[in-house]
């Protein structure tokens, strides 16, 4: 089955056709029906116009606002991607494509980025988008008092200025080859400047395919097609309704009874049952979402790489994918780069469950047994506690005694993560290698949850950022993945698929794998068959 998982990854990442997948899966013994359902639903057909798309999202809260700077979960991400546009967009094939920016140029040191803006794009309020709006939208995330979650990723911007109405020039503090990727981040929505200076972040006015008609935080958002939308081949449905349905059962019921047309976060335990329904189909993509067990490399016994390796060999990744993700995911290789990423190191040998090797490394570390506390809570990721319990069972065979400490869900991110020496962590992942590494693996960054410090790694990281040659970068990122895998403080047992449930009435092109719900873009990309 491992092969099939791998093919699914490839299919999802757009590197294999659906037909190839089905053929290969069948060659591996899967039935046609299984293979077809694994491949996901309707790929490519001519989009039709009309209808109301109703989405049930398992996130959202009464404290949500239309300010994308404060957005943390899928609900506002989906709403935001319908209402707003960004300078760049990650396409469903995982490629960076222009959106409000028509094109861009970069200086050889990757420090100065010049963006040409699309002309004649109108905001919902009728104003025509220009460089002033872009600068105001960027500035919303910068500055002393900004509460924006994007503050950290936009921090390398030294200066942003207009070059006429249709050109914006960014000057970076250090070179960054991936900067256009960063501008596709869901926080960095382009909104109209007020009085030419600031934006009104809660106005909900953007250039997106849909205008926000009614916004009830924690309940629903209704959206209506923007008649002046500049994209001709997008925004097929007339209107959309995005409902907050936190309860999995309620969401599933709503989908099966036709109350909604699509949902995210399918309950994995019952996914096979949902798949049986004639009116509903499962869709899944494998992206960058991954779960980790982070060891603080500054704290004994994790200071010793042999101990870390012992723990890495002492986990049965296949079992975890099978049990925790119920097969809806792929195994990880102890680094955070997903298969859909541009520079994923396919050639890096997969680390397997090997109690003997674990024992060996334990011995190398001068230990005969090892006893460690592993903190977990389901707030880390769904099934984290179960995963920890499984890990405990696996590690026991290698003479490692893992004591699973159940932490309270509430306050997990403030009290456990970054504090406890060994804990379960969820990562949504990042679209680029640099972004991912510099968020959590570079020395001294706030979210370096392994407190890991590796000179060679840090050196290549900076170099690769400023390197514009793709093949050179590939080599660098491969090396970094190997370093993290062999010497890092993180156990990455699995990458979880985004598993969605769709009504058979809903059609779409290939699904974007970068985020859930077609890279957040379900509303403007999907249509009714």
């Amino acid at each position: 089955m491992r092969e099939i998982e791998r093919y699914r990854g490839l299919l999802a990442a757009g590197r294999m056709t659906r037909r190839d997948f089905v053929q290969r899966a069948m060659a591996l013994g899967a039935t046609t029906a299984l293979a077809t359902s694994m491949a996901g639903g309707a790929l490519a057909a001519t989009p039709k116009k009309g209808g109301t798309l109703r989405l049930g999202i398992g996130h959202g809260s009464t404290s949500d606002t239309l300010d994308m700077a404060a957005t943390t979960d899928l609900y506002m991400q989906v709403v935001g991607n319908a209402g707003y546009n960004y300078l760049t967009e990650v396409s469903n094939a995982g490629k960076l494509t222009p959106e409000l920016a028509e094109s861009w140029d970069v200086s050889p040191d990757a420090k100065v980025w010049t963006f040409k803006l699309r002309k004649g794009v109108e905001f919902h309020n009728g104003k025509t988008m220009d460089s002033g709006d872009v600068i105001a939208s960027i500035n919303h995330h910068l500055g002393e008092d900004s509460k924006s979650a994007a503050k950290a990723i936009l921090d390398p911007i030294a200066e942003v200025k207009a070059d006429g109405k249709d050109t914006v020039v960014f000057t970076m503090k250090t070179g960054n080859a991936d900067f256009p990727f960063i501008l596709s981040d869901y926080h960095v929505a382009i909104m109209p400047a007020k009085d030419g200076k600031l934006i009104d972040p809660r106005s909900g006015i953007g250039t997106g395919g849909y205008t926000i008609e009614n916004f009830e935080p924690g309940v629903r958002t209704t959206l209506k097609r923007n008649p002046n939308y500049w994209k001709a081949d997008r925004a097929h449905v007339d209107s959309a309704e995005v409902l907050v349905i936190q309860d999995t059962t309620a969401r599933t019921n709503a989908l099966t009874t036709g109350e909604i047309d699509a949902m995210d976060k399918v309950d994995l335990k019952t996914a096979h049952l949902l798949g049986r329904s004639k009116k509903v189909r499962l869709e899944e993509v494998s992206g960058t979402q991954h779960f980790t067990f982070a060891m603080r490399t500054d704290t004994a016994p994790f200071t010793d790489n042999h101990v870390r390796l012992a723990l890495k060999y002492a986990i049965d990744r296949e079992a975890l994918v099978k049990t925790i993700l119920l097969g809806h995911g792929v195994i990880g290789n102890d680094h955070p780069i997903g298969r859909s990423n541009q520079y994923h190191a396919d050639d890096l040998p997969q680390r397997a469950y090997d109690p003997d090797k674990a024992k060996f490394h334990l011995k190398e570390a001068g230990l005969s047994t090892l006893k460690v506390d592993l903190s977990a809570a389901d707030a880390a990721f769904a099934g984290a506690v179960d995963a920890a319990v499984l890990y405990k069972e696996h590690a026991a065979k290698a003479g490692i005694n893992i004591n699973v400490v159940r932490e309270p869900n509430d306050g997990y991110w403030s009290n456990v993560w970054l504090k406890k020496p060994f804990c379960a962590v969820y990562w949504g992942g990042r679209p680029t290698e640099d972004w991912m590494f510099s968020t959590a693996y570079a020395d001294g960054v706030p979210w370096n949850d392994t407190y890991w410090k590796h000179d060679r790694f840090n050196k290549i990281l900076v170099e690769a950022r400023g390197e514009l040659d793709g093949s050179k970068r590939r080599g660098m990122y491969h090396e970094m993945q190997k370093i993290v895998s062999d010497e890092g403080g993180v156990v990455v047992p699995m990458f979880a698929n985004y598993v969605m449930g769709l009504s058979n009435k809903v059609a779409h092109d290939k699904l974007g794998a970068n985020w859930a719900m077609d890279g957040f873009r379900a509303i403007e990309r999907w249509w009714f068959a």
């Binding site: 049930g56 809260s61 009464t62 404290s63 949500d64 606002t65 404060a70 943390t72 002393e144 008092d145 900004s146 509460k147 924006s148 979650a149 503050k151 950290a152 809660r202 009614n214 009830e216 935080p217 924690g218 309940v219 629903r220 409902l243 907050v244 349905i245 936190q246 309860d247 059962t249 309620a250 019921n253 709503a254 099966t256 009874t257 109350e259 509430d410 306050g411 991110w413 403030s414 009290n415 993560w417 706030p446």
Partner: protein
């Protein structure tokens, strides 16, 4: 009448005092929550700077008593403050939700109260018959199920299998009245099943209790028909306990529906409160709790007044 007015005034004053105590308890409760509220709202993406900025903006750097009395002062001017999390007026946040909750409670009450009282009367009238026993077993069973279980069973049959009612109560203010009712019918039925047993049994018990009283025997020996005895002699005297149990259950309908709201994704006050507790959105928690407490107090007061009004001794003093 003056006596009753005096009692109402006294109870209202006491109620206000209770509300004050409730607000203080809740305030201190939230104050003791570990972790920072700003941190909680910003989630995983919080950095020390953003947290600090947020705290400053919300005035969380002030001592708790200053904030409490500021807040309390605002209440007296009808100002419930602004939500920490969404920066919206609390009253605006709560208003629509409260209406939804009351609407659901009203629909559930309209279904359950008449059925409960009628069943209770019938069971009392035909007590120890098969009918009585069946009703008894049925109601006992229905209160024994966890409410989410009842809800799911209802969804399974009435929504998934037969597709009569929607499985989620997706309501908005622009719906017509009957459409609104239609969409809340499943949660209302769930609540009905949960509370009906209690009301029905109480009605039955009160009436049976009364049926043993000398004036019922007297009425029987006067040759009054069974039905007239129940409606004319037992029911008027059983009103006080029945009203009491109805009110207790109404209070439950308003404040105890969190689980049902979650299952049916109904945008009521309960869900808001649960969200706000998790987010430590203190102004919303405070205001919702005050509303719940006020509802409870007012309903109890109503029950007391109604019991007094149905008691001829108090209505017609010597």
């Amino acid at each position: 009448m003056a006596k009753i007015l005096k009692m109402v005034a006294q109870r209202l004053a006491l109620g206000l005092l209770t509300l004050f105590a409730v607000s203080l308890i809740i305030f201190l409760g939230v104050e003791l929550l570990p972790g920072d509220f700003a941190q909680e709202i910003l989630g995983q993406s919080a950095t020390p700077e953003t947290v600090a900025a947020f705290r400053r903006e919300l005035g969380l750097d002030l001592p708790w008593y200053t904030r409490y009395f500021d807040w309390l002062g605002g209440i007296f001017h009808g100002d419930f403050g602004k939500s920490f999390a969404s920066d919206r007026e609390v009253s605006e946040l709560i208003g629509g939700r409260l209406l939804n909750t009351l609407f659901l409670a009203a629909v559930a009450a309209v279904i359950s109260v008449p059925i409960a009282v009628a069943l209770g009367v019938l069971a009392a009238l035909y007590r120890n018959t098969l009918f009585d026993r069946t009703i008894n077993v049925f109601t006992l069973t229905s209160i024994s199920f966890p409410d989410f279980f009842v809800a799911y069973i209802l969804i399974l049959f009435l929504s998934v299998s037969w597709n009569i009612f929607p499985s989620i109560s997706n309501v908005s203010s622009d719906l017509g009245f009957w459409e609104h009712v239609y969409r809340v019918i499943l949660p209302a039925l769930t609540l009905t099943l949960v509370i009906i047993a209690h009301m029905m049994r109480m009605t039955r018990a009160s009436i049976i209790n009364l049926l043993a009283s000398p004036y019922i025997e007297m009425a029987m020996l006067k040759g009054i028909s069974r039905s007239r005895i129940v409606t004319h002699h037992a029911l008027p005297n059983a009103l006080a306990p029945i009203i009491n149990v109805i009110v207790i259950n109404l209070a439950f309908l308003v404040v105890g529906v969190v689980v049902v709201e979650v299952v049916f994704v109904y945008p009521g006050l309960g869900q808001l409160l649960v969200d706000s507790v998790a987010k430590r959105d203190m102004p919303v928690v405070q205001a919702s709790c005050l509303i719940f407490a006020a509802t409870y107090i007012l309903l109890n007061l109503t029950a007391d007044v109604l019991s007094k009004l149905t008691n001829p001794r108090l209505l017609h003093p010597k």
